[in-house]
């Protein structure tokens, strides 16, 4: 049970923040908090891959893009005027089509995002699996290169294909009705519900990962990080485990991409770029590598500030500074449990000196 | 040759050496024995300046060398055969040895270094055959020989050896102890840490016993061999009992 306390705390904090923003009239902050939550989902998934299983992935944005672009592409196909096609009739009888009126008075018919959610998860999982089997045999720089290569391929395909909108990306992505009456969309009126949807996703993800880490499989993964040969010798099917973790990370990213795309109503190639993948890696690294909570908190802080444009023209520069600074001075991350110990250690000389002084005084008094 | 006073050192939060004082005279073989985790490796590493000394003083040939960089320790004629061998795994045996002679090359030129390599090869003939094999693919014992050879290539006056017999066949162990003795006969000084306490005490002049970061006993090697405490804690039985019969 103890391991869930922190999740309960997180839930409480989420609710408190929402209430506070409402009271202070700053509900608009929820927009960026919602967007950050989706990026956090990518980060914690990557944290599992990198921090726990020790496999670097510089291609995580590629999976995010797979999720986002799959749904953007599928849900922006307009079926109006295509009532004769087999696909239309099939979808229609299954009740999977949604009719919507655009801002400009046109009527469009598109398929429900539930289909594209399924597609996004499947495509991401299958891609990760097929890619993971060969490339996860690689290590270190080689693996970094291979995953980055995958990311670049996705980026290039998105950028070079007309169906994905080339450099413009895809806009006008419809909202995603999750529950009756509640849908994922960037609409002003559904801001609060979207905030909760996003963070629910984070909590769900955290629960799954925390459980995983504390299980038999989780330990095998952690030890794999230390010594693959040893894990092998203890009967861990290391190659299979690595691939599965990679798939989990990919699915997390794709789901996040899916939700973010509906929330934003569109997606552009910048979401697939190497720079984004680097950011995810950076967040995990700065969060302390094998530290889900670190990834969560750093993901929240950095994305929230960045999305609000707090760093201005220095967005990248600030990121660079944080990266370098953290890796140099706190390679175990900001939220490492030893921080408290370190602070104590730092303060100790102060007390010591006082004690010594006292002793000296006592001596001189004698 | 080597004089240590009140040495303290350790890692981050852990203090391992708690005030060590010892000395090694020129031309002596001195050994340190002690249980696992007593801090023997830490001591040798601190002398070689791989681990930074927190307090105390190390003097080499009367010169204070506390806290100077490891390369200058080597230049001052002190070389370490590290625990766990620490080779350059993706370089050939020959390259490993040549790098051992790095300072020699720099100071005395190619010729001395070449001669040294020959000496090493005659000491461990198998290395000559393996000369162009990558060091990482050698068997454990072969690697240990390279490690010793590489340290000798620096042409040290004082040789620090950390468990040189670890993982070696008995015949090689004997050979190595013989090498150690002959090195002393050539005028070198040796400080050696060994688990094979009986064997090392047989060739050593003096010995120290280390327990959890402090030296608890000091004496002539033969005295230690006869000491009951030492016998019980470190000597055990010797396999000679088996071969003798």
């Amino acid at each position: 049970m103890k391991r869930y306390y922190s999740v309960l705390l997180l839930t409480a904090v989420i609710v408190i923040i929402q209430v506070l923003t409402l009271i202070t009239g700053k509900a608009y902050l929820l927009t960026q908090l919602t967007m950050s939550a989706y990026y956090i989902v990518v980060a914690v998934g990557l944290c599992m891959v990198m921090g726990y299983a020790g496999q670097i992935s510089l291609g995580q944005a590629g999976f995010f893009a797979i999720g986002g672009y799959t749904t953007a592409f599928l849900t922006t196909i307009d079926f109006s005027g295509k009532a004769e096609t087999v696909l239309y009739r099939m979808l229609d009888t299954l009740g999977l089509l949604i009719t919507k009126e655009t801002l400009y008075g046109d009527t469009i018919i598109h398929m429900t995002p539930w289909i594209s959610l399924l597609a996004a998860v499947l495509i991401a999982a299958v891609t990760a699996y097929a890619l993971g089997i060969p490339i996860l045999k690689l290590k270190g720089h080689y693996l970094a290169m291979a995953t980055m290569g995958f990311g670049i391929i996705i980026y290039r395909i998105v950028l070079g294909s007309r169906i994905f909108g080339e450099a413009d990306g895809i806009s006008n992505v419809p909202s995603f009705p999750v529950f009756p009456g509640i849908s994922v969309s960037g609409d002003f009126t559904s801001r609060i519900s979207n905030y909760y949807i996003a963070w629910l996703l984070v909590i769900l993800g955290m629960l799954l990962l925390i459980n995983l880490i504390n299980s038999r499989v989780g330990r095998a993964l952690r030890s794999l990080h230390g010594s693959e040969e040893a894990s092998d010798a203890m009967g861990v099917d290391t190659s299979r485990y690595k691939v599965i973790v990679f798939v989990i990370g990919a699915v997390f990213a794709a789901v996040a991409g899916f939700f973010m795309t509906h929330y934003n109503g569109g997606i552009g190639p910048s979401e697939a770029g190497v720079a984004k993948s680097v950011r995810y890696v950076a967040i995990v690294a700065v969060g302390g590598m094998a530290n889900l909570w670190g990834s969560l908190i750093m993901g929240l802080v950095l994305n929230f500030l960045s999305l609000r444009g707090v760093f201005g023209h220095f967005d990248d520069a600030v990121f660079g500074i944080i990266l370098v600074f953290m890796m140099m001075f706190m390679p175990d991350g900001f939220i490492h449990t030893d921080v408290i110990h370190d602070i104590k250690e730092m303060l100790r000389p102060l007390f010591m000196r006082k004690k010594k002084l006292k002793k000296k005084q006592e001596v001189s008094n004698d | 040759m080597l004089k240590i006073r009140n040495l303290e050192s350790g890692y981050d939060k852990l203090k391992v050496l708690k005030g060590i004082s010892l000395h090694v005279n020129s031309g002596e073989i001195v050994t340190i024995i002690g249980a696992n985790g007593a801090g023997k490796t830490t001591l040798l590493n601190t002398i070689a300046s791989i681990v930074k000394a927190a307090d105390g003083e190390i003097k080499l040939n009367g010169r204070d060398v506390t806290g100077i960089s490891p390369d200058r320790i080597v230049k001052n004629g002190c070389a370490l055969v590290p625990e766990g061998r620490q080779l350059f795994p993706a370089m050939t045996v020959r390259e490993n040895l040549i790098l051992g002679a790095y300072t020699l090359f720099r100071e005395k030129g190619k010729k001395t270094a070449k001669e040294n390599i020959k000496k090493i090869y005659s000491m461990f003939p198998i290395l000559k055959d393996r000369g162009s094999q990558l060091a990482g693919t050698l068997s454990g014992g072969e690697q240990q020989m390279v490690a010793i050879g590489r340290a000798l290539m620096t042409g040290p006056e004082l040789l620090l050896m950390d468990e040189p017999s670890m993982g070696l066949a008995p015949i090689i162990v004997k050979n190595i102890f013989r090498v150690v003795e002959s090195l002393r006969d050539q005028g070198k000084t040796i400080l050696i840490v060994e688990q094979n306490a009986r064997a090392v005490l047989e060739i050593a002049d003096r010995g120290y016993v280390m327990e959890t970061g402090s030296l608890v006993m000091e004496g002539k090697a033969c005295e230690l061999l006869d000491n009951n405490d030492v016998k019980r804690a470190y000597l055990g039985r010797d396999y000679k009992e088996f071969t003798d019969k």
């Binding site: 038999r216 | 024995i33 249980a35 068997s139 454990g140 094979n196 306490a197 019980r232």
Partner: protein, 262 residues
């Protein structure tokens, strides 16, 4: 702990194993059997091919020829984890531990093959997964105690001394209740006192009914505890027999043991 059934005439059969590294014939048509419930030692000069032999048994190297059977099942061609799944566990000459993990976690890893809970069960914290965890922890404690590691169980392994790391490795190999242990130089780096302790322990392990294949250079250990010895030289088996016989074998003395203070 349950005893493995001793119904096999020989537990492990090694048949004509070969291994080449480039031009080097590191293991040259080596065959021998290991009977269940004994300690068998493999000795030989440095570079004789002992570790290579282990690596072939445990699935790390694919043999250039020959086969290994365990309980009449062919091991050759299996991945290391599959070999472990069959109940053959090993330790390493140069320790292989997860330095950032605690002693407890490292040792629990040894129980891996005993569990079934997979990713899904783990992520959803199904009852099966939690029960297995609990069982594993309970099973590990006696072994920790036996190896005097109880106090260190939450320490990061990287901070242990070499000797303690060896103990952790042994514990890790033991907790899965293996039928067979391959120990590669377990006494390297231990002093004589500790070596004696180790020899006690290895014998106790054998007395629990496990079979042990051992590579070791410490003759006091080997001669004392092994039931049978195989000697390798330049990749070839040159002798096999009881310790007594081996000690008296002149060739072994010449190439390995060394004569009397020659």
């Amino acid at each position: 702990m349950t005893k493995p059934l001793n119904t096999f005439n020989s537990l492990l059969q090694i048949q004509k194993l070969d291994k080449f590294f480039g031009g080097l014939h590191a293991v040259n048509s080596v065959s021998f059997d290991v009977k269940p419930g004994i300690i068998k030692a493999v000795i030989g000069p440095n570079g004789a091919g002992k570790t290579t032999l282990f690596n072939m048994i445990a699935g790390y190297y694919t043999p250039g020829g020959g086969q290994v059977f365990f309980k009449d099942v062919l091991l050759t061609g299996m991945q290391p984890f599959q070999v472990a799944g069959k109940g053959v566990f090993r330790t390493f000459q140069n320790l292989k531990l997860s330095h950032r993990l605690s002693v407890m976690d490292n040792i629990l890893l040894g129980r891996h093959t005993r569990g079934q809970a997979g990713f899904l069960a783990g992520m959803l914290a199904l009852k099966k997964s939690r029960r297995e965890e609990k069982e594993a922890e309970e099973a590990v404690l006696p072994i920790l105690e036996w190896l005097n590691l109880l106090d260190l169980k939450d320490t990061e392994v990287g901070n242990l001394s070499f000797g303690n790391q060896r103990a952790v490795e042994l514990a890790r190999a033991l907790v899965s209740d293996p039928a067979m242990l391959l120990l590669d130089e377990p006494a390297a780096g231990l002093n004589m006192h500790e070596t004696e302790e180790l020899s006690q322990r290895i014998q106790e392990i054998r007395d629990q009914g496990r079979t042990i294949l051992l590579v070791e250079h410490d003759m006091s250990l080997v001669m004392e505890i092994s039931d049978e010895i195989v000697v390798l030289n330049f990749g070839q088996k040159i002798a096999e027999g009881k310790p007594k016989e081996i000690q008296e074998n002149e060739e072994v003395i010449r190439i390995y043991l060394g004569g009397e203070d020659a």
